[in-house]
Amino acid sequence: MDDSTTPPPPAARVAHLTKTYGSTDNPVRALDDVSLSIGRGEFTAIMGPSGSGKSTLMHVMAALDAPTSGRVWLGETEITGLGDTELTLLRRRRIGFVFQAFNLVPTLDVRGNIALPIELDGRAPTALERARIDGLVESLGLANRLTHRPHELSGGQQQRVAIARALATAPDLVFADEPTGNLDSRSGAEVLRLLQTASREHGQSIAMVTHDPIAASHADRVVHLADGRVVADTRGQSAEEISAFMTARELRATEAAS
């Protein structure tokens, strides 16, 4: 094997991942033997209708939930089997989060919310982190909002604060769970552009869970999930193509059922 052709290690990887919920008599299989790599520096969208297992996949990859079987790596670190404290530290230092709603701590101002993962680590931001935060605050247009509390911000502004927080530690991987779900189309497009920029210009690895073809079309790569399995893995699809693909699949599923 030639070293020069070895691709860089992925930002995250899962192998033969299974997750079942419910009782042993009537198990619900949310993930069914999923194997997947999230490329370093890439913006990956994980798509699927509700109940496809995309949120479960994100929760397991982000060390928020444990799989029933299978293995999960973040970078080179295998996280399956790690204890609660190690997983907590991992999330704090190496993972960033942007959720659909309830993203910010209501008692902390914008500055406090952005620096929270660093401060939870019991330290002051390093010079590098300070510079990064200043740059983010500037480019996200939050400079005159630093002392505002979340309830004084619009939904789009709150989501930008969440993005600044997620990027502040330059984590191995940022997970975004329906980040545009609660926003109007203009704020939504802006949030997607910001994620795209972070990935293209700063090499930030991002995994975004969404059911919105337009949101997914901003990503470099789209992984389609259905019934807990990966059903397609595409690159460079437009929103129309993604939408058409999903409709076709649904039609086929309906036909198969009837």
């Binding site: 949120s55 929760h59 982000a62 928020l64 939930d65 609660d84 404290t85 907590t88 530290l89 999330r91 704090r92 230092r93 989060f97 959720f99 709603a101 309830f102 993203n103 910010l104 701590v105 209501p106 008692t107 902390l108 406090g112 929270l116 993962p117 401060e119 939870l120 680590d121 019991g122 509390r149 979340p150 309830h151 939904g155 709150q158 927080r165 609660n182």
Partner: protein, 484 residues
């Protein structure tokens, strides 16, 4: 508990979504029970004393004792019921605050605000009645046990003593009704919930509560000023006449009421100051900011505890200061029987007013748990962002310590001031030497009651963290973040 719930909550109560199973009602029932049992035991104790005094051939029937004990009992029960209704009102305000979205949804579907509020108040009445009945039974059982011990172990007879009397129903009814009133007062916020809140964002709307009523602030200031004025006048008059205490006493009552009304003026600065002591770490800030998130709620929660601490410290300081004067007037050696009498009286009074502290403590324990329960999503977010379970525990512990410490400090200061003012008003006119003009009483803080009060509040803080810690650490981030 489940049997009681099943019997006592008719389906109507549940139409509004509020049932006795609601978090917070358990504590309301418990508080009503403690207040009622306290009154029953107190009434039985005075009946016992009066019966045993009447049986004494040297004393015979004492009308003075009946009158004095009657007034004392009413005052003590009154204060306990007062503290209980503050706690109840606060509990219900917290319950309502955590239910805004649900209330808004019902409003959206066509329920009126008044009927929603009636549902909440009715829950208060049911909780009050259940608690009062439990307290009636519990208090009577305690009374029988106490009389049995006194008669058999100490040989003190109380012939003709009736422990089950119709008069016991009076405090029970008062407790049930004040619980209802407390629930009514606490549910005022229901009226401000608009159907729009059901559609709003999941972000908490406001850090500052908007209900700063001006009337309330003015009333608190007026009552406070006149109360302190009367207290000062009582102390000054007390320099020449022991009747100064008759002026100081209503001053004390007025200023105490002002304190309850103006808690939102007094407590936030203290809470802010103590919050600063915790430092600037993320955990400390998360905990400290929480007490100030709903300044009014935290203040009222704290003020009940302040009252408990202040009442106990008042009797402790008054008693010790009085003994100090006794010792001085006797030229260094007070008659032991007088000292013992004073100490005995103040100890009994401290024990009696400590019931207020217990009621307030139940409120603190319950409301901290309620607060954490309502912030499960916030804890889930923090857990996702990297708050370790050890840090979660620390946040909850600091939150409890914050509130309890603030209450302790204010309570000790107030109790010392009240105790000193009382002692000064009563004893200021005692002439230590024949040619002395007046006596200045030194406030003496006796160490043992102080240590007991501090230890008790430490226990409250620790107990108050048990349930919230469990709620906060057991909530899975995934589950809490998934729910809307």
């Amino acid at each position: 508990m489940t049997a009681v719930t099943a019997v006592a909550s008719p389906p109507r109560v549940r139409i509004g979504g509020f049932s006795l199973r609601e978090r917070g009602t358990g504590a309301t029932v418990l508080i009503a029970a403690v207040a009622t049992a306290f009154a029953v035991v107190l009434l039985s104790a005075t009946a016992f004393l009066s019966a045993s005094i009447s049986a004494n051939p040297h004393v015979g029937e004492s009308r003075t004792f009946a009158v004095v004990s009657g007034i004392l009992t009413s005052l003590l029960v009154g204060v306990a019921v007062y503290v209980a209704s503050i706690v109840t009102a606060n509990t219900f305000a917290t319950v309502v605050a955590g239910r805004v979205r649900q209330i808004a949804l019902l409003r959206l579907l066509g329920s009126t605000a008044r009927s929603q509020r009636r549902d909440v108040a009715r829950l208060g009445l049911v909780a009050g009645i259940v608690g009062a009945v439990a307290g009636l039974v519990g208090g009577t059982v305690l009374s029988f046990a106490g009389v049995w011990v006194l008669e058999n172990a100490y040989g003190i007879a109380a012939p003709g003593l009736e422990l089950i009397r119709p008069v016991l129903l009076v405090p029970a009814a008062v407790v049930a009704l004040t619980t209802w009133a407390g629930a009514w007062a606490g549910s005022r916020r229901v009226l401000r919930v608009t159907p729009m809140a059901a559609l709003g964002q999941a972000v908490e709307a406001s850090t500052q509560e908007l209900s700063r009523s001006h009337g309330r602030t003015v009333a608190a200031l007026v009552l406070g000023a006149s109360g302190v004025g009367l207290l000062a006048l009582g102390v000054v008059v007390g320099l020449s006449s022991p009747y100064g205490v008759l002026i100081a006493f209503p001053g004390g009552l007025l200023s105490f009421t002002a304190l309850a009304l103006g808690a939102h003026l007094v407590m936030p600065p203290v809470l802010r100051l103590i919050g600063r002591l915790f430092g600037r770490s993320a955990v400390a800030r998360l905990a400290a900011e929480n007490a100030l998130r709903h300044p009014e709620r935290s203040s009222r929660m704290a003020i009940a505890l302040v009252m408990g601490v202040a009442l106990v410290m008042m009797f402790a300081v008054a008693g010790s200061s009085a003994i100090g004067v006794l010792v001085a007037s006797a030229g260094g050696e007070a008659p032991p029987e007088m000292t013992a009498g004073f100490t005995g009286f103040t100890t009994v009074m401290m024990a009696l007013v400590a019931v207020c502290g217990v009621i307030a403590a139940i409120g603190v324990v319950d409301q901290l748990a309620l607060g954490v329960h309502q912030r499960r999503r916030e804890f889930a977010l923090l857990r996702a962002l990297g708050l370790s379970s050890r840090q979660v525990r620390l946040v909850v512990l600091l939150e409890a310590v914050h509130l309890v410490l603030a209450s302790l400090v204010v309570g000790i200061v107030l109790g010392t001031a009240y105790g000193w003012a009382g002692a000064q008003a009563v004893l200021g006119s005692v002439k230590l030497t024949p040619d002395a003009a007046a006596t200045l009483v030194w406030p003496v803080i006796p160490p043992i009651p102080l240590i007991v009060v501090i230890a008790a509040t430490v226990v409250v803080a620790l107990v108050a963290t048990v349930v919230p810690t469990r709620i906060a650490t057991r909530t899975s981030p995934v589950a809490a973040l998934a729910q809307d």
